[in-house]
Subunit: 203 residues, 2 copies
């Protein structure tokens, strides 16, 4: 076989593999299933966007679970609002928050694990259409929870349930596991031009 | 005066100007006023994040106005949900959307101007704490509305009112006028791995 014929044969085989792969992807695309979304980056909107999805999910008539892994990290306004709908939104804020100040690591780990137990309950309830794990990335980055165990619980969730994980510094394993990753980057910030935190915007 | 003394004098003058500038910025930071936020970029979360802010604002007991400049661009779920609160949320979706297909530019301009008239009403109502101008950037990019006129109305709004403008391709003048600009970038997308649009996530 001449060199160029051999190349043609290899090319054809490669194209056939490629076609098979594309066909498989098209077939997969027909499957509707719950997605794992990650909102990371240093910009604003990571949690807000998750709460927009809460509204969207409620609009579709599905229930929502929210676990906030850092107390006070998300807006008190959003919490106040969504707590209006206790039948539709199961809203949980982790105990007293992490002890950044007191540096009591064992207590932080215990609190994070309590919060995860709540998350596990939501992740095994197929009446819940969306689970928001707000600032989970921070708890993972500090090693308060084990990534493998967390991902195993997320992967074992009901087939149609969506999960949104927020927080800067998403671990590579979380990004790897995600279906969609959005990076929120700060282009320009009012704080930098000297405006203080605004109710309804920052908290 | 020796060369190095002269340099010291210039340095001191520069530092004094710098200190005056910093003091001024600190004084300005005490002022609380409504911000103009722009959510742009090709990633997800531009509108979701605005709707998260709607929830936050409602949680603070303030009213909200929403004008969607492209029909069907934002989630039907969010619309369904926030229409539950007609006393608190004034929700408007532009007529029949733009005629991307029919290419009737005059009709598009007329529709965009109708929508802007609604926005003007919200932007002059000081009982409204937040105005969401969803996909306004698209209408501006196509020249359906004039940027200068739009910015003049936004700047003339009540002092404490926040405005969020969404849509990819924000014009430089919009970015210039904004207090905060967040760029949502796509890092990884489920569609690219062959998953079709999901209710509650994409619409």
């Amino acid at each position: 076989m001449s060199e160029s014929t051999e190349r043609d044969v290899r090319h054809k085989a490669r194209m056939q593999r490629k076609k098979a792969l594309i066909d498989e992807k098209i077939a997969q695309a027909q499957d509707e299933y719950g997605l794992l979304l990650v909102h990371s980056g240093n910009g604003k909107g990571k949690s807000s966007s998750a709460f927009g999805m809460v509204a969207r999910t409620l609009g579709h008539g599905l229930k929502v679970g929210v676990v906030q892994f850092i107390k006070g990290a998300a807006s008190t306004g959003e919490e106040t609002f969504f707590r209006r709908f206790p039948e539709e939104v199961s809203y949980h804020v982790m105990g007293e928050g992490f002890t950044w100040e007191t540096q009591d690591r064992q207590r932080d780990i215990a609190k994070a694990q309590e919060a995860w137990a709540v998350a596990q309950r939501l992740l095994s309830d197929d009446s819940v259409g969306l689970v928001v794990l707000d600032e989970l990335n921070i708890a993972l980055k500090h090693g308060y929870l084990e990534l493998d165990a967390v991902l195993a619980d997320i992967e074992a969730r009901p087939l149609l349930q969506h999960v949104v994980v927020t927080g800067r510094g998403a671990l590579p394993g979380m990004i790897e596991a995600a279906d969609t990753v959005t990076e929120m980057s700060l282009v320009k910030h009012a704080f930098k031009s000297g405006v203080k935190a605004q109710k309804g915007i920052e908290f």
